[in-house]
């Protein structure tokens, strides 16, 4: 719980109204109780805020809300998210301490204030830095390293030797460090190419439920700091994700592709192997990027094979117009042919 004054100060926002108004949670205008913080992004939504039970609102500078205590923000949604970071108690996935049923292998090193849930298994030689929370049924493999403040929800599997940075969040069912998919055909069968490389997950990475990050064949799969990955995403072996990348649900990256800093990958995007995606590039949902392609920033790409969105939309429009005038064109082509 904070007062409006504290909140305004911490978020560096101008405050109008009662500085002593207390804020305890966050909500939508319609669901808010008196002490929930709400936000309105534009003047259009001001009546929702005005009708809300909430006393305290984040709003843009030019939106009058005379009955409320208002924190003025150029980007209210951003300020609301930043307020959440101050107001919300981080989720607790395990009670403090090591649950008596947890199995902790020889030589495991644990920092201060580590919480390990029921039936977690931490194999020999793993390092769990201060403040980590490890949920029930998590499996942390031999020699894995978890930086300070990581949160592993129940049922996360971290294969041996995987390295997580600081404040990494892995949701239920995430698997980090499984073997990459690499076989060499010969003598009538598929020989497994060695999948013995590493995985390095950067600081403040969050990975959604049931997503998979494969270990490298011989080198390292890397997820840059601050990258956020949605549910059911596949990150293949040797992939290099830059910092601050966003990857929406069910997207998949095949082996050895690289994604630059701050790029955005839409849902169900498929990225083949050895693709290069530049810093800040945007790949629209369901796009497909063939092997070895290079995607530039500047204009989002769409479709399979992915092309700049204007080109994609132009082609789509063409398809539509063709199906209107097509018979006419075919008749012309026929007469042209007979000339």
């Amino acid at each position: 719980m904070m007062t409006a004054r504290e909140l305004a100060k911490r978020l560096n926002l101008v405050l109008e109204g009662d500085p002593a108004a207390s804020v305890a949670g966050l909500a939508t205008p319609e669901r808010a109780h008196e002490r929930d913080l709400i936000f309105v992004g534009t003047a259009k939504h001001a009546p929702r805020a005005a009708r809300s039970l909430a006393r305290c609102v984040i709003a843009p500078p030019n939106v009058p809300l005379t009955e409320k205590t208002v924190l003025r923000a150029a980007n209210p949604k951003l300020a609301f998210a930043q307020a959440a970071a101050l107001l919300l108690v981080p989720p607790r996935v395990a009670a403090p301490g090591v649950h008596p049923t947890a199995v902790v292998g020889a030589g495991v090193r644990m920092g201060k204030d580590v919480a390990v849930g029921a039936y977690a298994v931490i194999e020999e030689g793993a390092e769990i830095d201060a403040g980590c929370q490890i949920g029930s049924f998590c499996s942390v493999g031999r020699g894995a390293v978890l930086g300070a403040g990581c949160t592993l929800y129940p049922h996360v599997v971290v294969y041996p030797g995987v390295k997580l940075g600081r404040d990494v969040i892995l949701h239920a069912g995430v698997v980090v460090g499984g073997d990459g998919f690499g076989y060499v055909p010969g003598e009538g069968r598929h020989w497994k190419f060695p999948q013995i490389g590493r995985v390095d997950i950067g600081d403040e990475v969050e990975i959604g439920s049931n997503s998979c990050v494969d270990r490298a064949a011989l080198e390292e799969t890397r997820v840059g700091a601050g990258t956020k990955i949605d549910n059911l995403v596949q990150i293949g072996h040797n992939v290099q994700l830059g910092d601050g990348v966003l990857i929406a649900a069910q997207a998949g990256l095949a082996g050895s592709s690289t994604v630059g800093k701050g790029a955005v990958i839409g849902g169900q995007v498929g990225i083949a192997d050895h693709v290069r995606i530049d810093d800040g590039a945007i790949v629209g949902a369901q796009a497909g990027i063939p092997t070895g392609k290079h995607i530039l920033a500047g204009e989002p790409v769409w479709g399979t094979p992915a092309r700049p969105i204007r080109k994609y939309l132009h082609q789509l429009a063409w398809l539509g117009r063709l199906s209107e005038v097509g018979d006419q064109l075919l008749r012309l082509a026929g007469s042209g042919r007979s000339r």
Copy 2:
């Protein structure tokens, strides 16, 4: 085990043949033993039934099967599925009672005849209604509520506060209630938008292995009663699924989309955010629906971006014809240009 007479009575079907014939299981004609029930959908498959060891057959009215005990049904496949509901013993995912290794938190309320498997963890304050079966390694979070008769296969994760209706079936690896994917960019990083809403799963919902249903940001993600979801499906935060929706494997719905009653979503369909799909609409496999679109019932939609199937097929046909007569057309375009 039932007699043909009982079965006919319960299913309200006309019986021909031996009313005392006993039926103990269900099978295909080729694999059936004497007491297995089989069905034929059309006259074409009658010889398969005739050759079967099964004594008892569900068949349409006009298909002669003189050697068999026949239950006449206008929709034999439906009658067969309804017979299955009578004949099959529901799967048992845990032995009766609470396994001694299960960890049950403070204040957990359990109804009659609840079965909890080995190494399940039920956190404090959860409510488990009568007849629920909870498999090994399931994690039921703080304050979650399971209606009567739910079946959780091993390795299901129900995050804190999630609400399941009556007779919900969750297959192995399902995750309900993980954080939605929402970040606000600012000051060079991605700020997590609060993901603190609820999930409400309706009665008789079934969700396939390793599928994910995210909790809402601030409000509620809702799956309507009788909705059936296949494996590896992603349901984003704030999604509203109506009753009786079918969603095939690997489909994904981004945030805040709504799907009307009885709609059918094909495999690998991608639905962006804030999409509205009407009651009874049909979305063909792999279709992609862009942000904010409204899909009507009446004609299935296909392709990306999704369009009515006749239009889609027409455009496809056009593409095919173009590649036959295209050079001719281009020549015409060239001469047209030079006029």
Copy 3:
């Protein structure tokens, strides 16, 4: 550890250089230590090998590497993978013996040298053949059968009655034997079609993290020997996969489709029900194959609906050219119409 001489002999390769050179691991040229084995596929990469610390290199016959001990192979990558099979110690997912916390049901039969990890649950009547390794939190259902030498990483769920062949590898989060997705609409709801069939996984199959193989409705879902399946793949009920099939990540096969021996299915491919894919056919990434289609070998197929790649590329090229000359064509169509 082996000597170069032993390795050459086992792999049937010609050796140049020091037969006593010892080889202990595998690496890329850049990361190799002295005793790591490396390979170069073509002369272009020879300088990388020459600069490497590694003493021992697999290289094609015509690539000079005078400072190294060289094993000559027509297919160096294949030889490298085969060397890996000799050099790498198989991963150990559980310590030898049955962990005291494992729950082993009545009538479970275990062969020699089975390893069962912490908190694994093996239900009554399961058969675990010699040399199997079962990781933490694995759930092996009633009556399931595991052939010799299977490796189940942590968090694998094998439903009751599933049969695995010899040397099967299942990565974390794999679910085998969940119910197929089959419902019959009637009387305003979806009736579950019985999903009571079997699953038979062949010898030397490997399945990636969080993939799902459904049990058949009434018959059998089959995965042929030596087939390799990547992460997050969906194999529907009654699917028949031949031997040596490769299926890349996030592909999905709906019910009753068959895939012939040695076929290759790209990432995110969607295969509808009752599709037939011939031996050795190749389906490009993200392709979609509609219900009932028959895909031939000989030319890879791409796109949705999948067509031979030359046709696909031709149509794509056409779309591109149209958007250049399109207005001209439309003008012609207009004038043609008015004639």
